[in-house]
Symmetry: C2
Subunit: 182 residues, 2 copies
């Protein structure tokens, strides 16, 4: 698929260093064929970032994220984010490298911040219901937990021993209960 190949090239060479010529030779397609679907290189980036962001935003709209206690909804969102990351690994990898160098990148960062705000609001709700500790700033909690989740792109390999379900369960265990055996 054109988009998959473009994302792989963006990750390998960087977005700026990936020309449409390079893409067309990697894909064995003419530039015209690529332009037919994506009229500019930035449209490939936009579509790729939308895959990642759409996945994360989709988690927030699922029933598990809208019904139940705040702690249950927070757990659902963390687990859902791990699944999105594993299932759309290259897309999320690309999203995490975005630094805001263009309009498309800035739009993506703004959607990411919106997602983070929704998670932080859930953390606040969970504190208020008494299920989540109240001695740490909620935005620091969100950053630490999503730091842990996002770091999975650095080492996760789909062919490895850890399934997405196992990994999501590990993340929930560490995030909610911590490492201590007690």
């Amino acid at each position: 698929m054109v988009l998959d190949a473009a994302v792989a090239a963006f990750i390998e060479h960087g977005y700026d260093a990936t020309s449409m010529g390079l893409l067309s030779s990697r894909l064995g397609l003419s530039k015209a064929a690529i332009y037919h679907h994506f009229p500019a290189k930035v449209e490939l980036l936009r579509a790729a970032l939308d895959e990642a962001l759409g996945g994360l935003e989709g988690v927030l709209r699922e029933e598990g994220a809208t019904r139940g206690s705040a702690e249950q909804r927070l757990a659902f969102v963390m687990s859902g984010a791990v699944h999105v990351l594993v299932e759309r690994l290259p897309y999320v990898t690309l999203l995490l490298r975005v630094r805001g160098n263009s309009e498309v990148e800035r739009d993506a960062l703004s959607r990411r911040r919106e997602f983070d705000r929704a998670v932080t609001a859930l953390v606040v709700e969970a504190r208020n219901e008494g299920s989540v500790r109240s001695d740490i700033d909620p935005s620091v909690v969100t950053r630490l937990i999503f730091g842990m989740i996002n770091s999975i792109v650095e080492w996760y390999r789909p062919e490895g021993p850890e399934s997405a379900d196992q990994l999501a369960s590990d993340v929930l265990a560490v995030a909610l209960e911590g490492l201590s055996a007690s």
Copy 2:
């Protein structure tokens, strides 16, 4: 300082895109003056990565990392790593971007892996003494915890409200006890 300025330029423009000419104009120093201390650009990279790695390795040699229960030593190492990260923020930022594109980068990655192995060994010891949960693979535990710690470079600002001590205490609280209030 030459090294600080080089690290800032490497982070801003990327290592490859930072020429000695760019550095000399940023520093207001002649190239000859820079070469006097660092005979090649890669020596600046080596020295910068050594600042970050030396800091982390130093934590492992401190008394808190070598005496006491495995759980106490693990907590000491996590807290020490947060302090190194905050105190040497640009250096650790650079270290975390290294992908192994040269001999110097591969040496740095190998020292990072050695550090990770030492932490994983501590996690195993803490499991064996019964203080750390045994239902998660120790190398996954190390990756998740250091994913959380390393992600701090993405958002931490020295001028922000959070001190290094506060942040280290937040990380320990989340990592060891988790978010749950219970």
